[in-house]
Symmetry: C2
Subunit: 410 residues, 2 copies
Amino acid sequence: MKHVVIIGAGFGGIRAAKALARSDIQVTVIDKRNYHLFQPLLYQVSTAGLSVDDIAYPIRAIVKGLKNVQFNMDEVIDIDLNTRRVIGKNGITNYDFLVVATGGTTNYFGMKRVEEYSYGLKTLDEAVNIRNHILRKFEEASFEDNPDKQRALLTFVVVGGGPTGVEAVGALSELIHHVMAKEYRNIDFKQVRVVLVEATNKLLAAMPNDLSEATVYTLTKKNVQVRLGVQVADFDGEKLSLKGGEIINTHTVIWAAGVRAGDLINKLNIRQDHLQRAIVNEHLQAPDYPDVFIIGDAAHFEQNGIPLPMVAPVATQQADVAADNILNLISGKPLGQFAFKDVGNMATIGRNAAVLHIGPIKLKGFLAWLFWSLAHIWLLVDFRNRAVVFMKWIWDYLFYERAARIITRQ
Amino acid sequence: MKHVVIIGAGFGGIRAAKALARSDIQVTVIDKRNYHLFQPLLYQVSTAGLSVDDIAYPIRAIVKGLKNVQFNMDEVIDIDLNTRRVIGKNGITNYDFLVVATGGTTNYFGMKRVEEYSYGLKTLDEAVNIRNHILRKFEEASFEDNPDKQRALLTFVVVGGGPTGVEAVGALSELIHHVMAKEYRNIDFKQVRVVLVEATNKLLAAMPNDLSEATVYTLTKKNVQVRLGVQVADFDGEKLSLKGGEIINTHTVIWAAGVRAGDLINKLNIRQDHLQRAIVNEHLQAPDYPDVFIIGDAAHFEQNGIPLPMVAPVATQQADVAADNILNLISGKPLGQFAFKDVGNMATIGRNAAVLHIGPIKLKGFLAWLFWSLAHIWLLVDFRNRAVVFMKWIWDYLFYERAARIITRQ
């Protein structure tokens, strides 16, 4: 029986495992974490709207029903494509076919100090760290007599105007002005600054211009200072330096300005792009290694001369094709070619506000927000979480509440 | 305007703040954490049934509606009863009246190694640590080839047969045998041992004998080995030594064998009992300091010659009397005496099983469990959490699920 090893239990890895379930093969999923993370809602954990386990689900619970799929919780440290072995901290796994779905990580573009002092928004632990940090800064500000120091404590900067940055900054501003403003009597909330910094001249680059401009307008109305065409030079934990010389005094920088492939991909000795992604062929195979498929954020795939973006729909669609092609190889059939079907773009900006672009449909405001909410609830892994998240959102919508404002890890 | 400072936002502190709300006085609540913790359900976080923020609620959200109450998140490091000052890490607070509601902490009875290697079950961080640890031990066991080492990884010991120990061990056994047993194909679940160790010859000391014996019976049916009359001598992280010489090979000891007052109470220079509790007079005042009231787990109060137990109903009833007496002192009225009204005892043993003793009523089994569940949902601080917990319990009851099985903090 052929053995397929899938590294990574993100959107791509889990989808590949499901696509290979009930086949006459053995499948092993390896991930260093014991849960699948619903990354699109990570910013809601960082802004105290959802709990950690609302958007994370045990991998074992997912694969429980797939008879031929097993899970190894292990951190892969090397991959030997020639001897077909995956080397983990806990042991070595041999494979006949490999699916590399190791995903992406935050890209600090080599700025070491920014990496050290700012917060990424890619992992569950980072999201909880951001939540703890923001809540702590308000508690510190409530004790601070020096107005300059207080203002620095109350200045929050999100870098990056893609969906993650826009959603995070919108949720943060609402957390502060709708919820926390009622609870700190000795803080003047006019002192609070929430800033979104974007290097280009456009938010949500993938969106049509009018929706992009509507996003700027909506964020501004939600008390976010949107700074376009501004690049970060450095951050030392207290001073954010912008190119051109401006300095923003702040203790809080959330870095949503870029992603790149994770470092494991470097071990493959395959040609990579400037985001570390391995360049795959039209069947999603590693060049020279027809038994190795690379998908999702780990893979560089060009369509019409443009590399596909690092988003979940690319990963899941590639997972299906990679799984099919493994079955094709086993049964001696010709391989299918991958072609991404654009499913559209959407981003929520906050309460009653989102932008959505699907085929010919462009939508903004309440209807887009409703669609976004329902789509994301539907996409959550299990029904219990769907029900819980649905209820929390209804509740928070009605009562302007964020119950997860708990500072953990004293 | 008189200023009342309340140290501690547990059951006693929050109740005192509410009792003093809308009075013509100023109230400051100080706590080192930013949340009120619903401790009776902490064991459900440690066994992956509930999330951190299901049982924790921001103190600021609680006091938001109380116009004369403010909150300082600060760690109190000293109290000067003579100059009436509370000294915190962030600053000094003067008071006219003080309510010391600093609560209890785990009592390791001086066993330093046990304290270092076992897990207490008093704080949110401890509960999450236990959850992470248990889940990790199963993942490690799934890799372990040596049967003795595997068996040690799969041996879980809870020490202490009070309500916390009984509830924790019952929930742990169900987590393992109802949920995890379906998900680890290469672990033989007959190898798993869940042990409850109790030093006396009775579980749930406050219960009538028949309910206590029913508890042993029910736990045994739930695959828990109940060891009565057995005392712990030492634990080094891998070997639990019992008095008499027996050694249990285990990586997991949850210590629910005792509580004592927190260390802050030592700063008061008031006579204390062997659990560090300050001995108060019939009005709940510190002897010689009529402006200082000590309540809950921090206070030693004898009724009919027996010290009251360290449980939430004592704390809340004392909070009411202390608050009344502060108002009495201000208005020059005579002080009220405290007398505890027993509200009964209950403990849940797991699915469909609890024991309950309220006045003349003794109940066990499904009905007691239903009453326990509804009572605990009702007692949760806010409605959103009540609704979420209610839904999660219904769900987990129907589907034998524990969705919070997430190993955080990599």
